[in-house]
């Protein structure tokens, strides 16, 4: 019998600063490779949108690469790649994150270019139109031509009836075609205030040099009003909801959503332990039962993600040929009931904790992983320093916690079920 895995108390060291305009800067030194990861977390996402302009946060993520005052169209990418760097970005319901990866020699260039686009983005109508085509293509690829993407969108639109989490991050197709220049400018003013941003620099740097560059380039950007608070609170669900999609496919899909709390919910560590017991690794309960023993599905996916507003416990399954989503549902509900009814054996609970703690280390392997983790903790959990307490929070979860929380979140009235039923013939307009 193997004992619990001990963790070091201090997992990561950070130098923390707040500029006079309200921008938060987190700096982590790591000199293993001569490179830097620079992550900018803007606290704006699809939750800050409204019907008619859904997807505009994500569209903006694209526009931020299309030219500003000092560095014109294409220049952000051209200059960056010429200096040995590359970039990416992602948008979620809660945040828009810009990720820059580059050799340390490009550090000042990156501060200059980031400041330029945060302060002085340009809005060329021709570029806006061309970018609409790009985003439409992205949507066609990730939603229309993907059974998973199609069903996931329907699931969320059904699970939420009031809160903005109901619409897709990429936006409804009609909104992508329709937003106006005024919509874009308003969104820029709302989301891209320096006081609405957490910047993380991780890698081959010293805190002094980063801070000096931040003061030179980012501090002069004036602060503005941050996005207005999201007022709508999703009302409690009153009974099971179901949605069905029929489209050509070889295999059925099944997805489920249960409402849970936000990242600040004191039970969030319990959600993570439940996630691991049910879906973490091949030894997890659902993998063993559904994939290996009953062979109802090809894979088990889902779990929890930290969110600013109350989020979801998700499950998704690619159903095997010849099997029905209903069979999977029945087995799943039995497992969820069992979790609420019987205490998790001590060894199984310890296994889940070991998996979660090893997962923390995996996120610390790269400077990019550390930058992402620091920003995520700062934005979602209130402080980067919570990383150092995360192992202890997981360690404290008891078998009784797991039972209590499972009983709270998995009743049938709290769930939404989405199924994709394969059809041989359907009219899908191009």
């Amino acid at each position: 019998m193997i004992s619990a895995l001990a963790m070091q108390a201090q997992m990561i060291r950070v130098s923390e600063h707040t500029l006079s305009n309200g921008m938060k800067i987190l700096i982590h030194e790591d000199h293993d490779v001569p490179n830097v990861a620079f992550y900018l977390f803007f606290k704006v996402g699809s939750r800050n949108e409204r019907p008619g302009v859904t997807g505009i946060s994500h569209f903006f993520e694209h526009m931020m690469f299309n030219g500003a005052k000092k560095y014109g169209p294409k220049q952000f990418d051209i200059q960056m790649e010429k200096a040995g760097g590359r970039n990416n970005a992602y948008t979620s319901r809660d945040v828009t994150v810009y990720t820059d990866f580059f050799p340390r020699t490009a550090l000042e260039l990156m501060f200059d270019m980031e400041a330029d686009r945060i302060r002085d983005l340009s809005f060329d109508p021709k570029i806006v139109e061309s970018e609409r085509g790009v985003v439409s293509s992205e949507r066609r690829n990730s939603v229309d031509n993907s059974p998973f993407g199609t069903l996931f969108e329907q699931l969320n639109a059904t699970a939420y009836i009031a809160h903005p989490y109901q619409w897709p991050v990429i936006g409804w197709a009609s909104d992508i075609q329709s937003w106006t220049m005024d919509d874009l400018k308003a969104h820029y003013r709302m989301g891209y205030a320096p006081n609405n941003c957490v910047a993380v620099v991780s890698g081959d740097v010293t805190p002094a040099e980063v801070l000096a560059l931040a003061k030179k380039y980012l501090e002069p950007i004036p602060s503005q009003d941050p996005p207005p608070p999201v007022r709508t609170v999703e009302p409690p669900q009153l009974g099971e909801r179901r949605v069905e999609v029929r489209r050509p496919a070889n295999l059925p899909l099944l997805m489920l959503s249960y409402h849970i709390g936000s990242a600040r919910d004191p039970d969030f560590p319990v959600y993570e332990v439940i996630e691991t017991i049910l879906t973490g690794g091949r030894s997890s309960r659902l993998h063993q039962r559904l994939v290996e023993k009953e062979q109802l599905v090809l894979n088990v996916g889902g779990g929890v993600r930290p969110s600013l507003d109350p989020g979801q416990f998700l499950f998704n399954f690619q159903v095997r040929s010849g099997r029905q989503p209903g069979e999977v549902e029945k087995a799943l509900y039995e497992e969820l009931d069992r979790l609420a009814r019987e205490p998790v054996p001590a060894e199984e609970l310890q296994k889940a904790k070991n998996q979660i703690l090893a997962g923390f280390y995996r996120q610390l392997k790269t400077i990019a992983g550390k930058a992402n983790l620091l920003g995520t903790y700062e934005v979602f959990y209130g402080s980067w320093n919570q990383i150092n307490e995360a192992p202890a929070r997981i360690e404290k979860v008891t078998a009784a916690d797991v039972q209590r929380v499972a009983a709270k979140i998995f009743p049938s009235r709290n769930r939404t079920v989405a199924t994709l039923i394969p059809e041989q013939r359907a009219e899908v307009k191009p």
């Binding site: 590359r86 970039n87 050799p103 090809l298």
Partner: protein
């Protein structure tokens, strides 16, 4: 997400950068022929291990596509005294992660575990490599899953186009025609008996490369690793097949009909090079400029300027045998011809005007700048680098002189290499999309054209 980055590429820069070097490692050949490569480094308290068997797709008997990966998967499903479920449980308890699979020239096991659990984790790996039991029930299950994975792949045209492309590009009998992926036909044919036979032939000391990088004490870990590798018999070293340079007599077009698709996914290929080819460095630079990064010619034209797609890139395959250079993108059904015409125009311009000194500098900087975080930052990456060097018969100078080799390129030498390898003639087109909407228009690219339904078995078209 802004762009799906092209497979395989390294990227970025340092203006006056010093040469990067591979950290020190040890190489030892064991009495059974296995090669042991160890690279201790103390960053996070994790150890990465790769057990690599030479062979992969190249070693699959005709008609048994996918048997290398299926055998690797089954080796972890029952070994020594442990059942599949026990192996899963024991690895998860350690917080370890194991993946098993195969590529064109090898089958691999990638294991990562917390340093302090090394004896337990290596004992499990040792059983998987040397004492798999291939339980009948697990064999049936894995084969049935493989069949459903093929069905799922055909529901996702973005995933399927790469497999159909290989079936078009590589001739019958070529090991890369299936590239180690199972299909409906091979899955029906593979049996436990064939799997055991294949395992006995390939899983031997003379084919094994065992690599570890990470947080370990070299002396005590070497003892563990030797024990793991020595449990295998010496066996017979796999002799990989030979294949000449690919040549095409005429352009061909394979159109896979998926009537519900709203976009056309396309890949356009020409003959490329192998991993040890002297033009590799030139083509890394050329491919970076052509379609290997965001500002590449293809992405700039199709995405940034025309808004026809979310992404356009080019793929430079670098395997043991010569592979493909391929343009890769997708676009709405209605703009299929517009996008393909534009991609071909970009290719034509690239051939006609070549690259400038400024472009060479930029690509060189991009490759150098991204190299450390893509190849040398984590223990997993270092394991992959060491395993590849051994697999391809290269030594550390491949990494240690990489920047110098980039620096030695000139505009003239680069453009000459581009003219040697890039071509507009006899291109091989693979499209997955709604055939009834595009069939007529796309026939202009190649008089030799075949249309097959996505429902037909396998991924390889009949010869044409």
């Amino acid at each position: 997400m802004k762009l799906l980055l092209p497979l395989l590429l390294m990227s970025a820069f340092l203006p006056m950068s010093a040469q990067v070097r591979l950290p020190e490692f040890t190489r030892e050949q064991l009495p059974n022929g296995a090669v042991l490569l160890l690279l201790p480094r103390h960053d996070v308290p994790l150890v990465s291990v790769r057990a690599v068997f030479r062979g992969g797709a190249e070693s699959e008997p005709p008609g048994y596509n996918g048997i290398a990966a299926i055998t690797a998967e089954l080796m972890r499903r029952g070994a020594g005294k442990r059942s599949a479920a026990q192996i899963d449980n024991d690895l998860d308890f350690l917080g370890a992660e194991l993946s098993a699979g195969a590529n064109r020239q090898s089958a691999y096991f990638a294991l990562e575990f917390l340093s302090r659990t090394a004896p337990e984790a290596m004992a499990i790996l040792g059983d998987i490599l040397a004492a798999p039991t291939f339980p009948e029930e697990e064999v049936r299950k894995v084969l049935a899953q493989a069949a459903d994975r093929v069905r799922a792949a055909k529901d996702n045209p973005g995933m399927a186009v790469g497999r159909y492309f290989q079936g078009l590009f590589y001739p019958a009998g070529h090991p890369y025609r299936h590239s180690g992926a199972a299909d409906e036909i091979s899955v029906a044919r593979i049996s436990r008996e064939e799997i055991v036979k294949y395992y006995r032939r390939m899983a031997c000391g003379k084919n094994l490369i065992l690599v570890a990088a990470g947080d370990f004490d070299p002396a005590s870990f070497a003892a563990l690793a030797r024990r793991t590798a020595s449990a295998l018999p010496a066996g017979e070293a796999f002799q990989p097949p030979q294949a000449g340079q690919l040549r095409f007599e005429r352009p061909r077009l394979l159109l896979v009909d998926k009537p519900d698709a709203t976009q056309t996914y396309f890949r356009i290929g020409m003959p490329g090079i192998h991993r040890r080819h002297p033009d590799r460095i030139s083509l890394l630079v050329a491919n970076t400029l052509f379609g290997g990064r965001f500002t590449s010619l293809l992405n700039d034209a199709l995405r940034v300027n025309a808004g026809l797609t979310y992404g356009a890139n080019s793929i430079l395959e670098l395997d043991r045998l010569p592979g493909a250079i391929a343009i890769n993108s997708y676009t709405p059904t209605a703009t299929t011809v517009q996008a393909i015409d534009l991609a071909l125009e970009v290719l034509q311009r690239f051939l006609r005007t070549g690259v400038s000194a400024e472009q060479l500098d930029s690509a060189r900087a991009y490759i150098k700048g991204n190299f450390p975080t893509e190849r040398l930052e984590t223990s997993d990456q270092l394991c992959n680098v060491l395993a590849d060097l051994e697999l391809f018969g290269l030594d550390r100078s491949d990494i240690d002189t990489f920047f110098q080799q980039l620096d030695s390129l000139t505009v003239e030498s680069l453009n000459a290499a581009i003219r040697r390898h890039f071509t507009e003639s006899n291109l091989q087109f693979c499209l997955v999309g709604n055939a009834s909407a595009i069939e007529k228009e796309v026939s202009k690219y190649a008089p030799a054209m075949k249309v097959i339904p996505v429902k037909s078995e396998g991924f390889a078209p009949p010869e044409f």
